[in-house]
Symmetry: C2
Subunit: 206 residues, 2 copies
């Protein structure tokens, strides 16, 4: 399988399938079907079968999917069969919240470093972390070989901080700042934008 | 046009197009093409043309799209050619951050009500709002005819609060809590889940 050949839009659905499967597993289920999974995630059964077929043969006609196996395979495909260390930059409200977020368990991530540029915050403890000085960001992130960061700084400094994260070797940025980051093609950005989420709902309002 | 006939996956892309168009407009551009727009949003030009064709004729062969017109039409389609009042429930870190988020301007939303159940927070001022007592949630939300809410409470109480929001007439919930809400089919939920965003990036990591 060549990763380059799978459309981004299909890749973007895999974590949604994985989350639904993990919830089924947590509920004690061991088998599911593309129909059931489709109802859980709001995507057609045919689309799910087509998406998964990009990566191999996961189910049997008539017997459906074995949940632990599909979880294992999707985790491998998404590279979350390991734990990625994550840096949080900007320890304002959002930074505090994501550093302590309890939805990462068993999903491939753990926050290991928190940075801020404010002398009043540096050295303070938050959720078990000591807030590190952002002026040492490049050095610390490089030393820890961190590849993924949550960017929680104000929009005015977000591009500059992103540039430094990338200089330090970061390859994926979860961007909470309300602006579009300009990054090299080798770096991935996912933008957390509440207005997008709300517009996806108001469409359906009268 | 029948809204029921447009697949959710197409609807989910419209806000992304609108955001890109608004950025082009902010940069002083008045015309664009499906090619240029596609490069901005990482979606093929053919897909963009196909998506927009669900809603009418927006561009001319050879001359592309007139940005102000397309912004106006997409805003109408997404029902953000008006301003929706938004309630924030749960004034912890995330609630504080979203109540003061400065990425909503010109995008159809304004936070008008903030609620918390903590007596230490009720009555306090945050970003121009007085935090209201969550025990009056149903009454206040109904009175203000609020249709959309950002749910920023702990996972343990999120379902209960969601039930009360729906009882009060809310039809769309932006859910920041790490759990799946169970809602009637008439209510929309968008889940803000940072792990999903990060898994969409780690796929591409070696």
């Amino acid at each position: 399988m060549n990763k380059q050949n799978v459309p981004d839009v299909i890749v973007s659905r895999l974590p949604v399938y994985l989350r639904a499967l993990q919830r089924l597993a947590d509920a004690g289920e061991t088998a599911t079907s593309s129909q059931e999974l489709g109802e859980k995630v709001g995507i057609s059964a045919a689309q799910i079968r087509k998406d998964l077929s990009q990566f191999g043969e996961f189910g049997k006609q008539g017997t459906g999917y074995h949940i632990p196996f599909l979880i294992e395979r999707l985790s491998q495909i998404l590279h979350v069969d390991r734990i990625w260390d994550v840096a949080v930059v900007g320890m304002g409200d959002i930074g505090h919240a994501v550093a302590r977020y309890n939805g990462f368990a068993n999903r491939g991530f753990r926050v290991t470093h928190c940075f801020d540029a404010d002398p009043a915050k540096i050295g303070k403890e938050i959720g078990g972390f000591i807030i590190l000085d952002a002026k040492n960001l490049v050095e610390e992130v490089r030393k820890a070989e961190i590849k993924i960061a949550m960017l929680c700084v104000p929009a005015t400094v977000a591009q500059d901080v992103a540039d430094r994260l990338i200089e330090a070797g970061v390859r994926g940025i979860l961007n909470y700042a309300p602006l579009k980051l300009i990054v090299p093609s080798t770096v991935r950005v996912q933008h957390i934008d509440p207005a997008i989420g709300m517009q996806r709902m108001t469409y359906y309002f009268d």
